[in-house]
Symmetry: C2
Subunit: 107 residues, 2 copies
């Protein structure tokens, strides 16, 4: 018989995607998951992050292909538009599944 402790499900915490797990990025990815796309300044202000901090988190998600970053000009000013990718959706859904299991195991 396989030894299956009552907490074995909790071990999946070790497989969590840290790129998604980090709070600021979880927030950003979740927002984009619900509203599909939004611009840099709007998101940065809503989330209460500095521009620098937001920028680095954005870049990491972009490098992972979890979001798309499109740069355009509006009223002669630069505007950066973020949108979630299919890969990003999949990653967040996987994360959600893992976290749900963990939370469920806590009763």
């Amino acid at each position: 018989m396989t030894t299956k402790s009552d907490f074995d499900v909790l071990l999946i915490a070790g497989d969590i995607d840290k790129l998604v797990h980090e709070p600021a990025r979880l927030m950003l990815l979740s927002i984009l998951y619900t509203i599909d796309s939004a611009d840099f300044v709007f998101l940065q202000k809503q989330m209460g992050l500095t521009r620098g901090n937001f920028s680095t988190h954005m870049s990491k998600l972009e490098e992972a292909h979890y979001i798309n970053v499109k740069k355009e000009f509006v009223d002669r000013k630069p505007m950066t538009v973020l949108s979630i990718t299919d890969e990003g959706r999949a990653a967040l859904e996987k994360y959600r599944g893992q976290m749900k299991k963990i939370l469920a195991a806590l009763g």
Copy 2:
């Protein structure tokens, strides 16, 4: 009227307790939440961490008073027993509540 976006609940991700949120510690705290107490070697092996890594995570949770660490001798060998504190339980429950809201907002 207060501007309440449909993703406002996701902003609570910024208030998450990072001490609990870190995967290895979330795992450890969750295990102790379900089985109350266990020893160092058992936990370290189950969790698949090196002793050094486990030791530092343990210490951080101890410093935060989320767990108790008791050292004794068994068969003339040192044994370290970890147990969750009320404060630790409260922290994990708060964390669970926050994460549940976030996950729920994702549909």
